[in-house]
């Protein structure tokens, strides 16, 4: 009898605690698990890119030397980064200083989660907002107020495997390439039996893959007023049709790319070409294989429109509105945004810096690759009849919602490109509904 009672009790306790885990595990974890560090007096800085961590830590160490404020740089993977930041924002326990992204900045600024920087900027002699790339500044300006200091900007370029090109006896990609050239060459490099592919398209990262093709072919993702979807635009559909052609003829099967990330496929010599953002340079530099065998050229343009498009995004350094040490936060942000440290960031090869006139410093951070391919994107075109178009990252109030939905809805089309048009049109409707329902 006693045993039965105990087992019944145990079971009911289990039942309760297990269900509760399902219900609230995510949020309670997020709030408390990393809270420990803050009491020690160290300043918490959160970023999501492991490749940039050493450089950022170095710059923060210099800050510590200068001011005596301890800074602890925590890296969280992209997905969990936003889950944690959101949980922290809801629970009032955010990191002090952190990266902001165009996908999320609107919702954070609108809800007063970020420290308003206007007064600090006015008083500062180090920060002048006109010195930063305006596309990036715009992402973190809300109602005329500044909420983050631009950290960097990125452009997309075409990375290729020299060895695979040499073996096939083909000419390396260059700035005169059109998307058709890419397709034709990729077709020659593809040998499906030998598991060699000409190109790999990272479908889970719209920014460094198909969005560029859409804008290059005259289509759009989001209307200029940030209100309606461009996925059903005829030009966009045409571009997506080309994406489908790439996927079915010259890319690894969608299931392979879902199982193994495209940058891994590129780094292992399975895919000969890949479009990647400038933020990948530190990773490619460190990887022995890519350092030895790979190089980078400008992203192709479209023959008909003459447009060479690269989505341009930039991160910003923001501080939590709820921080207990706003002045220290500002000191750090000011430090990170100062001309000196922006140059330092470029020299260390962390990323391209948002501060004007820092590109030479970044270009010379390594001689392994022709980094001009990334920088030239933001300059006047050197090729006649071609327009270099830096496209501001499309955002709405809560862009995460439709970008995630898009990844989910287009899976069928990645697998079977003949469904591309149907799925894109379907998604355009869904996306319009999502944008319409965004709370303001």
């Amino acid at each position: 009898m006693k045993k039965r009672l105990i087992s019944a009790l145990l079971v009911s306790a289990m039942c309760l605690s297990l269900t509760a885990c399902g219900g609230s595990g995510g949020s309670s974890d997020g709030g408390s698990s990393d809270g420990g560090g803050s009491s020690s007096g160290a300043f918490r800085v959160a970023i999501w890119d492991n490749n940039q961590q050493p450089g950022i830590q170095e710059i923060c160490d210099l800050f510590t030397e200068e001011t005596g404020i301890d800074v602890q740089v925590e890296v969280k993977e992209w997905d969990s980064y936003w889950t944690l930041l959101e949980a922290g924002a809801s629970g009032g326990d955010m990191p002090d200083v952190f990266w902001m992204h165009a996908n999320n900045s609107q919702i954070y600024m609108n809800n007063d989660m970020l420290l308003k920087l206007d007064d600090y900027i006015d008083k500062s002699d180090k920060i002048d907002m006109d010195k930063y790339l305006p596309q990036v500044t715009a992402l973190y300006t809300y109602d005329g107020s500044y909420y983050a200091i631009p950290k960097d900007y990125d452009t997309i370029a075409l990375w290729y495997n020299k060895t695979m090109f040499d073996e096939a006896g083909l000419e390396y990609p260059n700035e005169n390439w059109t998307w058709d050239d890419l397709y034709d060459t990729a077709l020659k490099l593809t040998d499906k039996d030998a598991k060699k592919y000409g190109y790999a398209l990272n479908v889970t990262n719209d920014q460094d893959s198909y969005w560029n093709i859409i804008y290059s072919k005259g289509g759009y993702v989001l209307s200029d007023d940030h209100k309606s979807s461009g996925y059903d635009d005829p030009k966009t559909l045409e571009a997506m049709d080309f994406v489908g052609k790439l996927l079915s003829d010259v890319c690894p099967p969608a299931s392979v790319m879902a199982e193994t990330q495209t940058d891994v496929l590129f780094q292992s010599g399975t895919a000969a070409m890949i479009t990647q953002g400038s933020w990948m340079v530190p990773a490619f530099k460190q990887n022995e294989y890519t350092a030895e065998n790979c190089d980078v050229a400008m992203i192709p343009y479209d023959k008909e429109t003459g447009i060479r498009a690269s989505i341009c995004n930039g991160l910003g350094w923001a501080a939590a509105a709820s921080t207990k040490r706003p002045d220290d936060c500002w000191k750090l942000i000011e430090w990170l945004g100062s001309e000196e440290m922006q140059i330092k960031q470029a020299e260390l090869g962390v990323t391209m810096s948002a501060y004007e006139g820092t590109s030479d410093a970044w270009a010379s951070n390594t001689d392994l690759f022709n980094l001009a391919a990334h920088l030239d994107m933001a300059e006047e075109s050197a090729v006649e009849g071609v327009e270099n178009k830096v496209v501001e990252y499309p955002f709405t109030y809560n862009a995460v919602k439709w970008t995630s939905q898009c990844q989910k809805d287009l899976v069928a089309a990645w697998d079977d490109p003949s469904l591309m048009e149907e799925k894109c049109k379907e998604f355009a409707g869904t996306m319009n509904d999502i944008i319409a329902s965004e709370s303001k």
Binding site: M1, L16, S17, E86, N111, S255, T260
Partner: protein
């Protein structure tokens, strides 16, 4: 137990003796930490989740608007939720029986005197102490269709985690593997409570090892089996981390594998719709309650308490 008796007596206006007061004081003192934990970490979130399931939730937990059963009616029309429920049940149907059967057999084997017993026990328990995320990453690479060990070792061309027909089984296999050690430990402790006399008597009567297993071990172990069954069913219905870590968002098999908790996570944290996420998890709560109630009723038929 004495504690609850003295509590019951108290309202009857009998004066408590000092001993009883002491009992009351220390009794409460010992259970209060656990109770506080339960209330703050479990009960309150449950109530709040149920409330949120009836809200259109605002960003960052601010400005929730009560909308009654709107989320529920949306859920009833959402075929993805029902597919996810089916996926979850399919997962449980593989994970629970297999993990219990294998663990039972292994526990009996590991309970005998044999060379290297502790080493074997440690090996089988290892998956339990490895972080689930690490387990998932290792299996993800084992299953990889291009570079994976499984395909390369056996010269296969199976898309273990991308073929919608088999991906859910592949995931369930990881589940069985990683929970085996935990079940074995519970079974071994249950086995050690069975007096050895029964086996000696059976031996004298000429029963074979298999007969002894079915007629002595299983009935006497049934309370432990019941406990494992209940907790495993609940655990399996809440599967999330394996799917989240192993399957990429662009995996075409995902719709046939994603579980209710996976869906809850995506709605709540990727899409930021906490209200609808809560609704999904309330559905899961109801499913688990129903399953558990039936199991509690069903136990009378097969669980033998001494």
């Amino acid at each position: 137990m004495t504690n609850s008796k003295s509590e019951a007596k108290a309202p009857a206006k009998q004066k408590m003796t000092t001993w009883e007061k002491n009992q009351l004081f220390w009794g409460w003192l010992f259970i209060i930490p656990t109770m506080l934990g339960l209330i703050i970490l479990n009960l309150y979130p449950i109530v709040d989740t149920i409330y949120q399931s009836m809200c259109k939730t605002g960003d960052f937990g601010k400005g929730n608007i009560f909308v009654g059963f709107e989320n529920f009616s949306r859920m009833f029309g959402d075929s993805e939720v029902w597919q996810a429920l089916l996926n979850t049940i399919k997962y449980a149907i593989i994970e629970v029986p297999f993990s219990i059967c294998f663990a039972l057999v292994l526990a009996v084997l590991l309970n005998r005197k044999m060379v290297g017993r502790s080493a074997y026990r440690a090996i089988f328990f290892l998956p339990m102490i490895v972080a689930p995320a690490a387990v998932a990453m290792v299996w993800r690479w084992l299953y990889n269709s291009q570079f994976g060990l499984l395909n390369n070792l056996f010269g296969l061309k199976v898309e273990w985690i991308s073929n919608p027909k088999i991906a859910w089984i592949s995931i369930a296999i990881i589940g069985v593997w990683s929970i085996l050690g935990y079940n074995i430990v519970l079974f071994i402790s249950g086995l050690q409570e069975i007096p050895h006399d029964y086996y000696e008597a059976a031996d004298i009567d000429g029963a074979s090892g298999v007969q002894a297993f079915f007629n002595i071990t299983i009935p006497l172990l049934s309370p432990t089996i019941f406990f494992v069954l209940i907790t495993r069913v609940i655990g399996a219905l809440q599967v999330f981390d394996l799917i989240y870590m192993v399957m990429d968002q662009s995996n075409k098999a995902l719709p046939k594998v994603e579980s209710l908790v996976y869906l809850f996570y995506r709605e709540s944290f990727d899409f930021g719709d906490k209200g609808y996420g809560s609704t999904i998890v309330v559905l899961l709560l109801i499913v688990i309650l129903i399953v558990t109630v039936f199991q509690m009723i069903g136990q009378k038929k097969w669980v033998h308490y001494e």
